[in-house]
């Protein structure tokens, strides 16, 4: 599915992850699991998502639940794109 591939690609690129070492799937945990995801990185991922999908994410949507897994991130994008 396209959305998953796009989100994976944004994460790989924004966090500069090594594709040979990190495997991302929908069930992959993000916060607390991927050390590259510091506060600056969280903002960069959000900004990249906003730019890529041309959506606006509100402050109260940037929280630990959103960044729990790849799937939770995708769920937010889906919700925004249908809005």
């Amino acid at each position: 599915m396209r959305l998953l591939e796009d989100v994976k690609s944004i994460l790989f690129n924004t966090l500069n992850l090594n594709k040979e070492k990190v495997i991302l799937a929908e069930s992959t945990y993000l916060l607390g699991n991927i050390p590259e995801l510091d506060s600056m990185a969280v903002i960069n991922v959000i900004s990249a998502i906003e730019e890529h999908f041309d959506i606006k994410i509100e402050d109260d949507e940037i929280n630990a639940e959103t960044f729990e897994t790849v799937a939770s991130l995708i769920a937010l994008i889906n919700k925004k794109m249908q809005a």
């Binding site: 591939e5 796009d6 690609s9 944004i10 790989f12 690129n13 924004t14 966090l15 500069n16 916060l31 607390g32 050390p35 590259e36 995801l37 510091d38 506060s39 600056m40 990185a41 969280v42 903002i43 960069n44 959000i46 900004s47 730019e51 890529h52 041309d54 402050d59 109260d60 940037i62 929280n63 630990a64 639940e65 960044f67």
Partner: protein, 283 residues
């Protein structure tokens, strides 16, 4: 490493300016080459400046080796320059570029270019538009497209800090921070004290009004697997500038966002693309 002996060393120095001095690094053009021109480099905002230092140093050395002089300048309140970040304003930064231009004109008579990364790109455009039309070229590396939105992203860092450190729902929303700024209070974000004046400067800038028509503009857009073109907002800005008469080309380079990655990263493809363009330009 292996080529180090052949380089002319970079020359760090302090440049006299209003309100103290600015830390600069000057890369003289290779003595063996014909001098092709000079670049003044303007760094991005806050932490992005530190993260990008390595890549910018690589690029400066590469330009110097091919015959360009490069002057890197730490703006007021940034890096090793005088002043506190909390006292910096857009106007002081524009003045800083003016001092850099005066300095480089005494060194090099050949064409002078401006080069800026992210917010530094917006700053060089504003400078070229308002102050000086004497440049042969302007190089923009992934320019910030909307400075108000960029400010929001910066303010969000305090929110993200709470999420990452506590795993909790952050409660310092950007609306609250904007209220503080509007009330004339500085706010501290990720170790940087942001003044209400500078925040207001960033809110006010309209990048579509920065269409420079006095020289050629090279926009370097960093692409990835998921994004091979300009963002919709970037597309709009480019077409607005072109309508206003800017001579602009966009160069797409596959590149990680080296100004933001946690580990310091670099982008060899960018060095190649810059070399492809600037070994022929300006001569």
């Amino acid at each position: 490493m292996s080529h180090r002996g052949r380089h002319q060393p970079a020359e760090p120095f302090f440049l006299k300016a209003d309100l103290g001095e600015r830390f600069c690094i000057y890369y003289p053009p290779a003595a063996s080459k014909k001098c092709l021109g000079a670049f003044i480099y303007v760094h991005p905002f806050a932490e992005e400046m530190n993260k990008s230092r390595h890549m910018v140093a690589m690029q400066s050395r590469a330009l110097a080796e091919s015959g360009y002089a490069v002057l890197q300048l730490d703006l007021y309140g940034c890096g090793d320059s005088s002043g506190d970040f909390a006292d910096a304003t857009w106007e002081i930064w524009l003045e800083d570029i003016a001092r850099a231009e005066e300095w480089i004109l005494q060194k090099v008579s050949s064409p002078i270019g401006l080069w800026g990364l992210r917010l530094g790109a917006v700053l060089v455009l504003d400078y070229a538009k308002k102050y000086s039309g004497n440049f042969s070229t302007i190089v923009l590396w992934q320019p910030v497209i909307n400075t108000g939105q960029y400010l929001t992203q910066f303010l969000r860092m305090s929110l993200a800090g709470e999420i990452v450190t506590d795993g909790k729902k952050g409660n310092s929303g950007t609306t609250h921070l904007r209220h503080e700024l509007a009330a004339g209070k500085p706010v501290e974000i990720a170790g940087y004290m942001l003044s209400p004046l500078l925040a207001n400067d960033l809110e006010k800038i309209v990048t579509t009004q920065l269409a420079v028509t006095s020289c050629r503009i090279h926009w370097f857009e960093f692409i990835s697997e998921s994004r091979q073109t300009l963002t919709p907002a970037g597309e709009n800005l480019v077409s607005s500038w072109k309508k206003q008469g800017s001579d602009l080309s966009v160069h797409y380079v596959p590149c990680t966002p080296f100004w933001a990655t946690q580990e310091i990263s670099t982008c060899p493809a960018l060095l190649d693309e810059m070399a492809r363009i600037f070994l022929h330009e300006m001569t």
